[in-house]
Each structure stands twice: as structure tokens, then as C-alpha cells.
Symmetry: C2
Subunit: 274 residues, 2 copies
Amino acid sequence: MRIAVVAPSSRFEDWQAVRDQVGALAAARHSGLEVHFHPQCGLVDGHFAGTDAQRTDALVEVANDPSFDAIWFARGGYGSNRIAEAALARFGPAARDKAWLGYSDAGFLLAGLYRAGYADVAHGPMPRDVSRKGGEAAVGRALDWLAERSPHALEPGLDRGKRHAAFNLTVLGMLLGTALEPDLADHVLIVEEVSEHLYAIDRAMFHLSASANLRRVAGLRLGRVSDVLSNDPEFGEDAETIVRHWCERAGIPFFGRADIGHDAANKVVPFGRV
Amino acid sequence: MRIAVVAPSSRFEDWQAVRDQVGALAAARHSGLEVHFHPQCGLVDGHFAGTDAQRTDALVEVANDPSFDAIWFARGGYGSNRIAEAALARFGPAARDKAWLGYSDAGFLLAGLYRAGYADVAHGPMPRDVSRKGGEAAVGRALDWLAERSPHALEPGLDRGKRHAAFNLTVLGMLLGTALEPDLADHVLIVEEVSEHLYAIDRAMFHLSASANLRRVAGLRLGRVSDVLSNDPEFGEDAETIVRHWCERAGIPFFGRADIGHDAANKVVPFGRV
């Protein structure tokens, strides 16, 4: 099995160290598993891993290469929204046969792929998570899912009878109304957040819960909300209280917490039915 | 003339000092001008100037009181989105005869009022701006507009033949798709921003420029983008380049810069025709 890694978002300066660590992990866990880091991972253009054109070209190249079985987004940060629509328009049939895995900023691409009917799209750990404390467990989990669909890699509360989708809260808010927004009717929607103020989470929930699309979800589960930015004055409510508040106002069932987040414990959530 | 000040957003702990300064300015500039600070300005509930119910009740009370000629939002921060729809639903005919002035987070209310057909809604300085360096000029400008519609208070580039609207960029993004979103077709839209990362501005422009409503504006002008949060790595483009990029991608004419922002030089932009 061959996995291609590309970096559609922020620049990825430690990519060679990550490549070596992830390669060693892959070799140790699954014989015959090859993880190919596209050299685009090493490009730099300001904030990004290469210009929009360079990131688009690399993504289109691996998507359309039938020798790859999966595309694994290298890291988050910011920027895949700038290229997602144009890249998707250039994907051929070989792209639909692949698995796609990532989270955080890569959610823009997961959304566009899922909207376009790609069957094997999932929210889960990325190569650069190997640099986190305990990150080898996260990357091992992603590799096990990519290589063998190992059940241990899955978010433990997934409901086999239901469709699911998972997103970073801010990313989901920013893709509403764009060409990337997927139909989430009857889905269990799982969201997580990192490095935001609580007032921004409240504001994002105001925005999301007003969406007719979001109001049709089966229910919402909240992953971890980590590294909350401090605010003066304190907001006065925690993230779960905020999310419950807006779900209740909008008539969206709140289905409790979920085991995803910007951390080494992040589990895999396949889009659609498990 | 009587102006009522209420605080629909963040708590306003220095409200009595601001009230005294603004009262003195009003008395010095316009005889017979009374600025009434509703005692709700002094309430505190966590982040907010009182609970949602308290802020809503105060706003509804002054909106429906025919003895006030104008409602002036005390300050920004965060929180008017939580009460705007419910408050507007309780406004009676007296509310439509009033002028409404504010900016920043108060943009949620300006949007909802303008959407509901209120004729005298404007984006401009608020009482708490008096605490800024040089802020007496900003508040004097707002008072001159409220009392006499003084032309010197207006943003100098307004086009008398066109309709206008002005918003904080993030606030506008978060109200898209909500019950507060006004029709901006054929408007000159002016946006400004404060205390955001450049990548967040890029992401907000991605979101805004995908909106069918925004794609129908006559054109966009960019106010000041101040106190940009530093980022590692640097984004690599400045705010104007970012805004021009997304306008070009979406076919939205870019009409240049505008004299509004989170500062003492902030000018008044009446919604609709000047």
C-alpha cells in the first residue's frame, strides 16, 4: 500500500524529520506500507508550503496518480481553502478510489471531497502530529486506519447506524456558504477547537447554529477545546456550556463529548457511514 | 434632542467616567442635547454588560421610548449577536423613528436593523471611544452627526448616488446566513478590522467573497486594519493585498481605502443612501 503526503496549508519546515519518523513507524507497524512525502512539503512561500499553484499542482498530481492508495494531509495551519475548489476541479477518477485523511485546516478539503461524493474521507491525525508529546500513538493510529481500517483507531462513540462528519469549529464556520460546504443533513456532527477565545467560540456557534444545513444534523458532539486563549474579562461560561446553549436555541440535539481534538489522543472519524 | 446609550455587548466598567466625559462634550457642542446613559451600562454578567435578558430589556425599553430620538451603542467587545434577533422582534413603531449609531460588535444590531428596513442606521464612533487617545474628536464627530447630521462627520469618500454599508470584517462574516444578514446588493460595502491575524483576515475574505449576497455589492472599500496580531511565520501579504486578492477572485470591484477603523479618526457611514 502506498500513501502520499502533501502539504496544502502552512509551510512545513521540519518535514524531513517528520518524514523519517513517520517512515520508521510505518515500517515497524505494517509490512509493505510505503509513505511517500511529496517534495512540495519542503516548499515555502510566506505562510504557506509553496505558492497556491505549487500546492495545487502537488495535490492534483498525487490525487490523479493511480499508484497511491491514500492521500494524507501533512499538517494543518492555514491555507487549504485557497486551493481546494481549483484542485478538486482537476481531480480525475483515480482520486475517487483513494482514502483521504487529515483534520484542522485540512477540513476545507475533507468538506469539498465529501460534498463531491468521495466515499473514503476521514478526519484524523496527520504526519506532523508525530512531533507532539505522545504523538507516535496518534500517527500509529492513523497508519493503522489507513493500512487496515483498524477499529481501535476509530472515535469510540461512532454510531454504526448513522452518518458522521467532523470538523474544526472555525473551519466549519468559514466554509459555510462556500463551494466546499457539504450537506450535513441527518449526520452526527463532531466539532473540536484549539487556540481560540471563548467569545469566538460563542460567536462561531451563533453563526453555525443559524445555518439551515446545520439545523438538519441528527445531533452535535463536542470534541476537545484546547489551549483556549485567555480573555479579560473572563467569558463566564465554559466551551461545553456555550455549545449546549446554541444547540438548544437552534433545536440541535447535543449528543455529548467526543474523543477528537488537537492532541495525541485524536481519533479517526470517517465521513458518512462507519 | 435626547440620545439613549445602552450596552448590548461587553461589560462597561468605566461607564460612569465615560458618561461624564461624553455629557460634558455634548453640553459644550450642542445646546439642548441630552445623552442619557441607561443604568444597564453598569451591569456585569461574566463577559457581558448584564445577562442576555437584562441587555435585551434595556435595549427594547429605550427603542420603544418615544422620548428618545437616537440610540447610541456604548461600546463593542462581544455579545450583541446573542440578543439582536429577540430584541428586534420586540421593537415597536417608535424604534423606527430613531437614529442608531455604533460599530464593531454593534454591527450585528446595525445589520438586523437595516435588514428590517430601519431608515436611519449608521456605522460610527461610540461613547467609549472617548477613552482613546484623541477620542474626544471621535465622540464629538458622532455627536455632531446625531445632533445635526454635520457633513464633516461623514466618511469623505461616500458616493451620493450609491447605497452604503459598513462593518467589521469578522462581524460581517459571522452574521452571514443568520437572521441579521441584510441585502447588500448594489451597495458600496466598507469593512475594517482590528486585533486579528492576517491569516484570519484571509480566511474571512474567502468566506465573505463566496457569498452570493456579497458578490452582488457594487464594490468594496477597505478601512483601517489595526493592531494586526503577529504570526510565526509571517503571512507574507498585507491586508490590502489579501482583500484585493479575494475581490478579484470573486469578481467584486475593489474601490480602494476608506476612513473608518477602530481609532479616533473613525468617520460615520450611514447605511443606505447618504
